[in-house]
Subunit: 187 residues, 2 copies
């Protein structure tokens, strides 16, 4: 069974995070949500950019890359800056880039850049490429795959990004089944 790690930090974009988890779990992927703020306490609820609290499964401290096939970062600038400043997240991004797959969407390709793992071709939220400040930005694709680095644009493309990950880690047939069940004909 394919497995994916999603780190969440306060200020993450809620519809991006939840769309990714929902689509990937429907596609048969074992998705684990990891919080990075150790002050959260037992509730493990991480608050997003629009005040929606999502319960995480574990702490990033308990995570080892060996247990996963991919690591994906949802966007939202608050969450992105927090992830980009977290040494364990940056370390994991490097490990995943070396041996597995990394992904990021919206503002979060900024964290890939910080970790030095952003590809030569990528996409992100329109305007975020100025902050990311690296050549190779593509504005004409919802999802850009460059080797083992996958990126996507923003809230409206999150479900399509989830489908692209399901296709890569599980297969085209599973992707197609989820696409039809979720009424995602626009992806």
């Amino acid at each position: 069974m394919a497995s994916v790690l999603i780190p969440l930090a306060e200020g993450f974009e809620e519809v991006e995070a939840v769309a990714l988890v929902d689509v990937m779990r429907r596609g048969g992927i074992d998705v684990r949500i990891a919080y990075i703020d150790e002050s959260l306490g037992h509730g493990k609820v991480v608050i997003g950019a629009h005040g929606i609290g999502i319960k995480a499964d574990t702490s990033i401290k308990n995570v080892i890359s060996e247990d996963f096939d991919m690591m994906v970062l949802p966007g939202g600038w608050g969450g992105t800056y927090a992830l980009a400043e977290n040494s364990r997240v940056l370390e994991l991004l490097k490990e995943f880039k070396e041996e597995k797959v990394v992904g990021a969407m919206c503002a979060a390709p900024y964290a890939l850049k910080k970790a030095g793992v952003l590809g030569n071709h990528y996409t992100c939220y329109p305007g975020a490429q100025e902050e990311i400040d690296q050549p190779g930005y593509r504005d004409d694709m919802k999802v850009v795959t460059d080797g083992n680095v996958m990126t996507s644009q923003g809230p409206g493309t999150a479900v399509c990004f989830g489908l692209a990950i399901v296709e890569r880690l599980v297969g085209k047939e599973s992707m197609q089944t989820v696409k039809e069940a979720m009424l995602l004909d626009y992806c």
Copy 2:
């Protein structure tokens, strides 16, 4: 400021609930999430159909219809059946239909039917119309508005449903701003 009530019961469709809250809050609507299961405890985390836990703001017991302009139900069969069996939810649906606006998507128009407030024209998740068993099903529109009853199809149309609610309760300009910011050109 417009305000919307979203009741959540275990087994709700996560991307539908979160897309609705995210889009509506971006559109300037005060959204309150209410849980119906009194055994939840202080954490107030309601678990969705794909294992994602969302923190609710309050209990449905603390809610009065006077504080809101609309009540919207996300889908997912587990959550839908639980809402449709909850007497307080059915009572609120009748109050909102009389004096305000009600909405439901995916499987949840079933709860509107149970409360006797489903309109003459509606949409829902393809196949759910058999369980709803009421004439007037439309399969050709992402969002159907019939007077003060709004319905939508499923996960892939949740963001578009949110935009339609923002347009109705706040205005076209706010809707357009959210649509562009979230890259929802397919709505």
